[in-house]
């Protein structure tokens, strides 16, 4: 099934794009992450221009996180106050990201920066997840339970001025901490076309110290709005959102997300986390090799 993409200016096999969306949707349903970290590199690998890939992946993440966010909000799993602060930071972040994108593009370093960010982020977070889930699995095997981790926020967070009460998260901290976190994920979303869920969730748990039952819902809430802002930002600045490409991805990812969610209910959460860690590390490894190996094309062209 050949589909002509009007913004990317090329023809692709529509079924491959739908399958790609389904794959990432499956991941997002299973693990509660947006899956953008896989979509963007795979689309670039398939031959779609990097800017179009990053711009269109954001709307796919929006679609994949909608039903999840609704489901969590029905269960009361969203801290709207915290979510609001994160979204405000996130929108600010997409603005900063847009400026950075522009500057890096003019310098010709956008691809390198994106690749290095991928390697660093995916490598470190994948490594942490793998270590944590292997420790839990070992503890399950040997029957000795791990000492329960104390839930508390990072000392740096406690030093920030001006404190607010976040009832649902069970926190009394400065709103600057989630705001800065939101800014950081907003920048990442704009630059890398990812939702930022896999950065946001651990940060909310281990830096802010939010109570676990609102973490995933609040993260989905933030991702939903920040990816919307990213799509708008790309539509206004880079003009690289390909709605045909995005729709194809969405068809795959929204169904994949539902199937993945059913899957996740049956599987053990620790094994799921380990699986996700392995996938994340593999992507990071592939990216790291890509930086070090001689690329196929030494020369690249960009419009002036």
């Amino acid at each position: 099934m050949d589909v002509y993409l009007p913004i990317a200016n090329l023809s692709v096999n529509g079924l491959i794009i739908v399958a790609l969306g389904a794959l990432t949707g499956l991941l997002s349903g299973m693990f509660g992450v947006g899956g953008g970290f896989l979509t963007t590199p795979l689309m670039i690998f398939y031959g779609i221009p990097p800017t179009v890939a990053a711009a269109s992946a954001a709307s796919q993440v929006t679609g994949a996180s909608v039903s999840g966010a609704f489901a969590h909000s029905r269960r009361g799993g969203v801290d709207y106050q915290m979510g609001g602060v994160l979204v405000a930071g996130g929108i600010l972040g997409t603005g900063i990201g847009a400026v950075l994108f522009n500057v890096l593009q003019r310098l010709g370093q956008i691809d390198t920066v994106i690749n290095i960010l991928y390697v660093l982020l995916l490598g470190s977070i994948g490594g942490l997840m793998a270590r944590e889930s292997i420790r839990t699995l070992r503890a399950e095997r040997s029957g000795v339970p791990l000492p329960a981790a104390k839930r508390r926020h990072h000392p740096l967070v406690a030093n920030l001025p001006m404190r607010w009460r976040f009832y649902r998260s069970g926190l009394y901290i400065s709103p600057l901490a989630p705001l800065l976190l939101g800014v950081a994920t907003g920048i990442l979303t704009m630059l890398m076309g990812i939702g930022g869920g896999f950065v946001l969730v651990p940060a909310m748990l281990y830096i802010l110290g939010m109570s676990a039952n609102v973490v995933v819902g609040t993260s989905l809430f933030q991702i939903l709005f920040v990816t919307m802002a990213t799509t708008m930002m790309h539509a206004l600045t880079t003009k690289a959102v390909d709605i045909v490409l995005a729709t194809l991805l969405l068809v795959g990812s929204v169904t994949g997300a539902q199937v993945g969610a059913k899957f996740a209910q049956k599987a053990s959460p620790v094994k799921l986390r380990l699986l996700l860690a392995v996938i994340v590390l593999l992507v990071a490894l592939r990216m790291a090799l890509g930086l070090g190996y001689r690329p196929d094309d030494i020369y690249t062209v960009a419009p002036l």
Binding site: S65, K239, V241, V244, A246, P303
Partner: protein, 250 residues
């Protein structure tokens, strides 16, 4: 009176040296729409001697199809501290977005380098107008890099021997356009060459454009970014929501 006759004879004589070239393109408009996966243009025509007889054996034919030129920056990666990053770059003011050349024989056998350079006959001779002063070696390196990249994408082609001549009158060449062909007005030029000299040339245009929904989407995105973005957001939210609903029912 005598003067007019002389002038007429002179014109006739002048014309006598040049062959008659009647070029045509199979389609003057390429439409990019759903289902477009690339196409093939047929550049064909007739070449006759001034007397109107078969003449193609005396002439070599070269056809060139060229897309609109654009200003680009070409970047070159080098290995720095273990990773490949863009280090060097050059700006080119007139790189063709598409360039295909086909000829009856290898171009080097038809014309000499000087003529090839004047008429831009061949990927080696593209006039790219680099901005600023760079030395010729570097310029050649970047030009070669650009050409190789676009050959891989199917946007630059050089097919020597692809022009076929029938009955020494009709010539034809098929030129492929990939699906990623850039939009714009293309020029199709035909050259008749004899003894290393271009003796006749003719050109016509081909319009490559998006039509229908594809055009509407591209225009919408370019002119109404805000509403286009909103539309994309609405589509993605609606699809996510509908899928959630459908699966909740099952």
């Amino acid at each position: 009176m005598r003067g007019i006759v002389a002038l007429f004879l002179l014109l006739l004589l002048g014309a006598a040296r040049d062959p008659i070239l009647v070029p045509e393109v199979s389609q003057h408009e390429v439409q990019l729409r759903q289902g477009f996966t690339g196409t093939e243009l047929l550049l064909f025509g007739a070449v006759l001697s001034p007397e109107g007889t078969r003449a193609a054996q005396d002439y070599d034919i070269i056809v060139v199809l060229k897309g609109p030129t654009q200003s680009i920056v070409v970047r070159e990666k080098q290995k720095v501290a273990g990773i490949w990053i863009n280090v060097d770059s050059t700006e080119l003011r007139s790189a063709p977005s598409y360039y295909a050349i086909a000829s009856t024989r290898p171009i080097a056998q038809i014309v000499d380098d000087k003529t090839a350079a004047i008429y831009e006959l061949g990927l080696k001779w593209l006039q790219l107008s680099p901005i600023g002063s760079i030395d010729p070696d570097e310029q050649a390196r970047f030009a070669a890099g650009l050409v190789q990249l676009n050959v891989e994408k199917g946007l630059y082609r050089q097919e020597e021997g692809a022009v076929k001549v029938n009955e020494q009158v009709l010539y034809q060449a098929r030129i492929g356009l990939p699906s990623r062909v850039p939009i714009g007005t293309y020029t199709a030029e035909t050259f008749a060459i004899s003894k290393g000299r271009v003796v006749a040339s003719a050109s016509s245009t081909v319009d490559v454009r998006k039509i229908g929904v594809e055009r509407a989407i591209a225009d919408f995105s370019a002119n109404y970014g805000l509403f286009y973005g909103l539309l994309a957001v609405i589509v993605s939210v609606a699809m996510g929501w509908i899928a959630g609903r459908l699966f909740a029912l099952t």
